[in-house]
């Protein structure tokens, strides 16, 4: 159980209780066993696996089973968890964080792991009841409470969040229409070929897909104008629904940062130590713009593993162990609708100079694509045959020149044995003993 709250100062203050915040706690405790850690979150529960809200809505799991760490995590790590309270103002000069309940917490090192919030497009009529987002457990509870046996849903946005929600709704037997601005699902995460596999799986599951359209207006129900009754698309078509979900992306939650004087672009800007423009304030996860090793710049890559690893690097630095973030990039794995698809980095590089695309496929069961830039891996997409994709991602992460064995990267029997001997030995060095 979380400890009783107090108004004392704390050595380490973490705003946000999800992947980044937990990554920081675990890292701090590797270096500093005793320094007081406090976590503040506006969500009232212990850290849970956010991606599991899809299974939760579908009735496949429970809050207890979704916990990201064992129930005694906070107690065992000596973390004071202040849950269900929003942080309202950050004062860098006094090193204080005001909470909405009037308390002020003093800190020595601060981590902003505040995540993102769903992006809401300005659509006329979007103030009606029956409009949902889908990024929190509370969102899942709200949707579940609103569902009836006759429910019909429209999901705006065919990205990862829209897909995860659609998967749950299909499982519950709710008819779903997905409306997507672009010409395919997961356009930001997958190439055309992999996206077409997802599209086929969605259609086979009975999902109706409407591409290259936006919602111009949210309509009321004929008998109850306060409640969503449907949407009118750009082309004039009307779709009826009582559940309307908006899943067009997330916007970094940076609000504490700029008024405190921290540098913010789209996200809170951090250096390779995950430090913000204030040396004792760090940021990570969906709220931050951290180094992307594919693009070579700081950008927001709102995915769970990057949040955890960024939080971990921040935590190590906060506790005094100098650590450099090697960078993250967009990477995704998909298992909805029985699929096995992974992707990372550039998906559709176009015909720019220096790019080369290698592709192979085994009829309908497997598709492999690797994007090279100047002889180094800049993107990968694997469908069906995914088990060795991590080796390719490893080469991409390390910036290895793969020109000499590039064809092997998409071969069905690709593996560590496909790497040149020197490289293979280097990678396996800690684990290989020379024969006596």
């Amino acid at each position: 159980m979380p400890r009783k709250t107090s108004q004392r100062g704390t050595r380490y203050l973490i705003v946000g209780n999800s992947a980044g915040g937990i990554g920081a706690v675990e890292a701090i405790r590797q270096v500093d066993a005793n320094g007081p850690i406090t976590i503040v979150s506006d969500e009232p529960y212990p850290a849970y696996s956010r991606p599991e809200i899809s299974g939760y809505l579908a009735g496949l799991t429970t809050v207890e089973r979704m916990l990201f760490r064992p129930p005694d995590f906070y107690e065992r790590n000596g973390v004071e968890a202040i849950l269900g309270v929003t942080a309202s103002r950050l004062d860098l000069r006094k090193r204080g964080l005001e909470l909405e309940d009037g308390r002020t917490l003093a800190w020595d090192r601060l981590l902003l792991a505040t995540g993102g919030r769903p992006t809401m497009p300005p659509i006329p009529g979007a103030d009606r009841e029956g409009i949902f987002t889908f990024t929190t457990l509370a969102d899942a509870d709200r949707i579940r409470a609103a569902l009836s046996p006759a429910s019909r849903a429209v999901v705006i946005g065919a990205g990862l969040i829209g897909l995860s929600l659609t998967h749950a709704l299909v499982h519950l037997g709710v008819p779903v229409v997905m409306v997507e601005l672009l010409d395919r699902p997961l356009a930001n995460a997958l190439d055309r070929e992999a996206a077409s596999v997802v599209e086929r799986a969605l259609r086979e599951a009975g999902v109706e897909l409407v591409f290259e359209q936006t919602v111009d207006e949210v309509l009321g129900q004929p008998e109850d104008g306060e409640h969503v009754g449907g949407v009118r698309l750009q082309d004039g078509r009307q779709l009826s629904c009582d559940i309307l979900a908006i899943a067009i992306g997330v916007t970094p939650r940076t609000e504490l940062a700029p008024e405190a004087g921290l540098r913010v672009d789209r996200g809170i800007i951090v250096d390779r130590r995950m430090a913000t423009s204030h040396p004792d304030v760090y940021a990570c996860g969906d709220a931050a713009e951290a180094f992307d090793f594919v693009h070579g710049v700081e950008r927001v890559t709102p995915i769970w593993p990057n949040a955890y690893i960024g939080g971990r690097v921040a935590g190590l630095n906060m506790a005094g162990r100098e650590t450099v973030y090697s960078g993250g990039t967009a990477m995704n794995a998909l298992s909805y609708f029985g699929l096995a698809i992974v992707s990372a980095g550039l998906q559709e590089p176009g015909d720019g100079p220096g790019y080369e695309v290698l592709v192979s496929s085994d009829s309908d069961t497997a598709y492999r694509k690797v994007v090279l830039r100047e002889g180094r891996v800049a993107g990968l997409t694997f469908v069906g045959d995914i088990e060795k994709s991590g080796i390719v991602l490893g080469l991409m992460r390390d910036g290895t020149d793969v020109s000499a064995f590039k064809e092997a990267l998409v071969a069905p029997d690709f593996g560590l044995t496909s790497l040149p001997e020197e490289l293979r030995r280097e990678r396996l060095a800690p684990f290989v003993t020379e024969a006596a």
């Binding site: 599991e52 990477m331 794995a333 991590g390 490893g394």
Partner: protein, 136 residues
């Protein structure tokens, strides 16, 4: 030598019946070997979980199913918590995590908790697989 006995013994060790014929032919869901033998011309390589000190799979796990035991350094999966999202498969630079499509979860080396020596090590006729414990 590339004999693949490690693969056989690993699969049987992780079967329900622990009987090689039943494990390969009858058991459903079919048990999976937690390791992979790569064969490329005359080069053979056994690939299994390295139980990395900086485990990218653990850091990438969406649910908390993967964890590294701070006292033993072993990386384990809690199968009840794995949702088969495949993120760890993408994260592992060795390609050492397998997808169990029948169970919808991952399969990885667990160092054979019921044995004093992992089954692959005990079965290797050429003593090519070593099990070495190191201080953390």
């Amino acid at each position: 030598m590339g004999c693949g006995l490690c693969e056989v013994h690993c699969l049987v060790e992780h079967s329900r019946t622990r009987d090689v014929i039943k494990a390969y032919l009858r058991e459903r869901p079919s048990p999976l070997a937690r390791l992979r033998v790569e064969r490329q011309d005359h080069l053979f390589l056994l690939v299994q979980c390295r139980h990395c000190p900086e485990p990218l799979c653990v850091y990438s796990c969406l649910t908390g199913a993967l964890s590294r035991d701070p006292t033993t350094g072993e990386v384990h999966v809690d199968e009840a918590r794995c949702i088969g999202c495949w993120t760890c498969i993408l994260a592992c630079p060795y390609g050492a995590i397998r997808r169990d499509p029948q169970r919808g979860i991952i399969a990885k080396c667990d160092l054979c908790p019921d044995r004093s020596l992992p089954a692959c090590v005990a079965a290797c006729p050429n003593e090519a697989i070593l099990y070495v414990e190191e201080a953390l």
